[in-house]
């Protein structure tokens, strides 16, 4: 009985693990390096969005003066624009 259970477990394990290798895909296909760069930029852009929102919340909760907020907001938006430009300059990543 134990032998049968172990055999079934081995069969399931081999089936699950080998599934990607059995699929009709190019085994040698690598990640598109440009896609990684785009993902990185998108991550940076989202982080910048969060930072802009945080600065606005800091203004509304009285932690920042309007002058400080203005300066910070300008800097952050300039940084966001820079990231967006870089994103637009990147070729679209290859679809899978």
């Amino acid at each position: 009985m134990a032998f049968v259970i172990v055999l079934v477990v081995v069969a399931i394990a081999v089936f699950v693990i080998s599934a990607p290798l059995r699929a009709h895909r190019d085994h040698r296909r690598q990640e598109d390096p440009e896609a990684a760069r785009v993902a990185e930029l998108e991550f940076a852009r989202d982080a910048k969005y969060r930072e802009i929102r945080d600065a606005e919340l800091d203004l509304r909760t009285g932690k920042l003066s309007p002058e400080d907020y203005g300066a910070i907001d300008r800097t952050l938006r300039a940084e966001a624009i820079e990231i967006m430009r870089a994103l637009e300059a990147s070729p679209a990543p290859h679809e899978e």
């Binding site: 399931i12 394990a13 693990i17 990607p20 802009i52 932690k63 800097t75």
Partner: protein
Amino acid sequence: MAVVGRSLLILGLCACLYGIGASIYGARGGGRVWVDSGRRAMYVLAGMTLFAFVILDVAFITSDFSYNIVATGSSTTTPTFYRAAAIWATQQGSLLLWVLLLSSWSSLALFLTRRRIPEIVPYAQAVLFALCTFFTGLNVLFANPFATSANPPAEGAGLDPLLRHTTMMIHPPMLYSGYTLLLVPFAFAVGALISGRLSAEWIQVTRRFALAAWLCLGIGILLGARWSYTELGWGGYWAWDPVENAALMPWLCVTAYIHSIMIQEKRGMLKVWNISLILTTGTLAIVGTFLVRSGILSSIHAFVSDPTLNISFVGLISVMVIGSLYLVIWRKDSLKTDARLDSLISREAVFLFQNLLLVALTAVIFWITFFPLISEAITGTEVSVGPPAFRPFVVPLAILVVLLSGIGPIIAWRRVTVAKLRRSLTFPAVVALAVLAVLLAFGSIGPHVFALLMFGAGAFVIAAVAQEFYRGVRARRAMTSESPPVALGRLVRRNRRRYGGYIVHAGVAFALIGVAASTSFQDSRTATIRPGQSVMIHGYKVRYVRATASATAQKLSFGAVLNVTSGGHHVTTLTTSYGLYPSQDPTQGPIGRFFNGSAESRVGLRAGLTQDIWAVINPNITPLQGLIQKGNAVLQKALTNALAQPPAARAQALNQLYQLRDIAIEKLTGRFVTNPWPATFLLIVSPLVTWLWLGAIMAAIGGLIALWPLPPPRRRRPALRQRRRELAPEPEVRARELV
């Protein structure tokens, strides 16, 4: 089923080795399919380990003593709940739980990142497999949980009575979850270093794992403290025991990490610091696991020392330390950043200072914890250190950390004008000063200056957090005209990370106020009194009303009922007991073994918001010893005679003798009630202990809020932005519409 269990472990080890190979081959040019296949090997490992764990747990529940660890770690008299959990009270079973948790969290992490950071994931996957290989290898080679015996005993040795406590059954899985969750960001940090992709993306991907590790470790530490307070009978909750410190050190480091990664996410700064911090934290998680298992430092929590395991762990820790150092030095140029602090009056500056303090705190605890080993290595003599060695260093650092946890929330990122800072600081500072003034005027602070400072710092934090919530709700109401509760709910919901964090800060402040008060202003005394006699403590009159005793098949219990009054008014009635579990040692005699087994204490506790009254009995059963010896001799002789009878009559004779034995034990136990022998009591009155538990619950709730995923509408936003991006012609136009 033992064969199946062992086979599963061996197959799991094979899956680990395949996973390492497939992940590295996939990363080095073999293609993504190999990485995908490797990831699936992790799912398989988790499944196999779960199957093995279930087999073993069923053996514990059904008291199958053919398994060696069931025979040594459980018994038929152990309650079912504790039998199900006794698996991790053994070295082998706890290692299996480690593999189960590590493979499960790794599976989750790899599933969530299956389409993200593809350069980092294969290496992180290989590191997670390597760690799984180590622990599965230990289970297969040196600590086999499925070892069986051809001649199993009729009864097991039973679970250590001290571990028969609900919190103690949840405490180890929480700690192990914390340790294993920490290894996820550790593995991704290694992956980021190897692949050279060192932006903050891997941090963002694994942030929740770090936060979950912080939460699980924190809950585990607190459950351990609660167990110590209510079960160990010494009246405290933290003894600076090496194993306690082993859990505290990674918790402190991951606390620093959770804060410092925000600086990297926002400013791109502190790359070297963050990556070094998580590599240290991951290594400390393994050091913690090693300390529990090695017995190299004396601890009540440690398993029996095993030299083979010790060597293996030292090897793993060495590889982790040397490997981490090498990788950071190798990538030092890529880790450099041009960003600088805009101002020393900014949240990032406060976080940085707080990080330094937390790391200093960890270093101090590490040094003192390992000082006995260091002193032995240098002088040949092991110097023992206790709580007094920690306090002069830990307490001032902790006060500063608490103070900064109040300044952090009220200060903005990047820079703040002094006028704004002054305005934000006014309310918390006034509250803190008012608390200090009231305590100095009306409290008996005496020499406890540090406690006073902690009260002030804690009040500052709580006021700062309250102010932040008030300001946030006010700002939201100004925009939306929502009612205050709705505005509060939506404010927290939309800014979970920020406001969850604030709740954690307030919870930690409450908890540390409780710690400062209960350790500095505790009143304790030991008294030996007879029933009817009284003793005074902290203005309370504690009267020993009567003795209690009970005898069951599982344990003998000797206790007391205490009446506590103040100024003639009844305050509370406390019941405390001392339990004795039967020893399996035959030399104790057939009756004596019931009175000389493992012991546990049940504490009499009246917990209040301002004060705890705590009592524990240490009964004197010496007057019973003469009768026990006599009973041993008589019963032993009768048992010998019964065993000499023919088989048909033997069973009946033995049955009668066991019934007589039980009656004798009941009578002997009853003498504790009928004779007014004096008993020794440890009585403690501690202020604000409840604040520690409530503060910890509050911090856990805050942690859960910060951990909880964002609601669906916000998660869909990137897709909407993508659409807007396609529609809007210029980045400048879109940037104006960001908020």
